[in-house]
Amino acid sequence: MSTTELAAHEVPKVAIELSVNGKRYRREVEPRELLVQFLREELRLTGTHIGCDTTYCGACTVLLNGEPVKSCTVLAVQADGGEVLTVEGLEQDGQLHPLQAAFSEHHGLQCGYCTPGMLMSAYALLERNPKPSRKEIRKGIQGNVCRCTGYHNIFEAIEAAAAAMRKE
């Protein structure tokens, strides 16, 4: 433990510039501001959820420079210069992304709290592996907890989306 406690106003803000869903933003942030707070509170992109305090649940998953990360455990300053994709960035021209359509079609959610994170982990999986096996899908969403569905319909939805994206 350190001895000197700092008050927030004693700490200089840091200028950051990053792209979120293809749009560039320049902001001054407190060093301790988490990426998830930046997205939700600064940019009002509230699709990304916070489900825990322990970096366990994955509800806050976004892509940072193409890789899935828990945005509750990344500082906004660490994302400086980066490219972020959130659940709001999945739809194109008012059309649901095939993953979103498949989650809806296959009832891949109940309360929906985990869904944004599930979608982003599934998106990251399909980017690397367009035809995942059931086991690979399980591994792909290993960092996302769902308290409602029992996962079965989530697997179905991801499989269906993968097939749709391969245009089968």
Binding site: P31, R32, T54, E67, T73, V74, Q78, G143
Partner: protein, 297 residues
């Protein structure tokens, strides 16, 4: 909860990082992937005055193999190591890199941060002990290299001096007839292992020429199970020899009672994992392709 306020500094070179950490003193912490540190800051377990971000230092994330030696930069993430040619060539490295946490944590967490956390539940210290690795450090007093065995000195305490950072690790490329396995058991993907075991064998037929065994999450530091190795070295691998090695590993362990299990449960697990590690290492020595990683429910 959110971290208490701190100042943020971005180091552009190793020298600058060492300078910043030395100057800022006791209240400063290095920041790599943040997957251990930010978790602690969020629950206010630690309230540093300053964070020195190492993540943009060029070249510190290289993964390379040269003259029979593998060198991994401190900033290499678990995910990049798992996808590297080194992991393809040395399955025990892949076992460990893929077994750590989940996809998201592996995207950010680094091998250097994993070592420097001094967390007995971390996997790289045990894996690197199994491979007899060196830790390369740089600080105000210059560069030095230390054996990884003993680098984690106590719970959350490492051999690093003030202002000193880890720049990378290195180990000898396992030779012909040598192969290993890293096996762990955890309650779910995002959890730390209940216990984990690394085994590296050098065999000539069924005869064990050399063995290294290390245990993670089995005490307050990673444990180099030398007595278990001695049970295997020079022996023909049979049931009785393997049983004695597993017993010696269990005897060397000192598991704590926590939410992951009782010491008695963990000892049973260590016994099983040592046997499994030996089995997989032996099959890999014989050229068989075996996929293992941390198991969970």
């Amino acid at each position: 909860m959110y971290p208490a306020p701190f100042r943020y500094h971005r180091a552009e070179s190793v020298a600058e990082a060492i300078g910043m950490l030395s100057e800022l003193g006791e209240g400063a912490r290095a920041l790599a992937g943040g997957q251990s540190l930010l978790v602690l800051l969020k629950i206010r377990f630690d309230e540093p005055t300053d964070l020195v971000d190492l993540a943009r230092i060029p070249g510190l994330d290289a993964i390379e193999q040269r003259d029979g030696e593998v060198r991994i930069g401190a900033l290499a993430t678990h995910a990049r190591i798992a996808r590297s040619e080194i992991a393809a060539a040395i399955p025990i490295v892949r076992d460990c890199a893929n077994g750590i946490a989940d996809n998201q944590v592996r995207s950010r967490g680094t091998i250097g941060g994993n070592l420097c956390s001094g967390d007995p539940s971390c996997d790289w210290p045990a894996l690197l002990t199994t491979l007899d690795a060196q830790v390369h450090c740089e600080g105000p007093a210059g560069k030095r290299s230390l054996p990884v065995d003993g680098f984690v000195e106590d719970l959350y305490a490492t051999a690093l001096q003030e202002g000193e950072i880890v720049t990378g690790v290195s180990f000898a490329l396992p030779g012909p007839g040598s192969a290993g396995a890293y096996v762990g058991f955890k309650r779910c993907a995002p959890a730390y292992p209940t216990t984990s075991v690394g085994v590296q064998l050098t065999l000539s037929g069924a005869d064990c020429v050399d063995a290294r065994i290390a245990l993670g999450s089995s005490g307050l530091t990673p444990i180099h199970a030398t007595a278990a190795e001695a049970e295997l070295r020079g022996q023909t691998l049979g049931e009785a020899v393997i049983r004695r090695a597993a017993e010696a590993a269990v005897a060397a362990s000192d598991p704590i009672d926590d939410q992951r299990g009782s010491p008695a449960f963990k000892r049973r697990l260590i016994d099983t994992l040592v046997r499994r590690g030996i089995d997989v290492a032996r099959r890999r020595c014989a050229g068989e392709q075996v996929e293992v990683s941390h198991e969970y429910y």
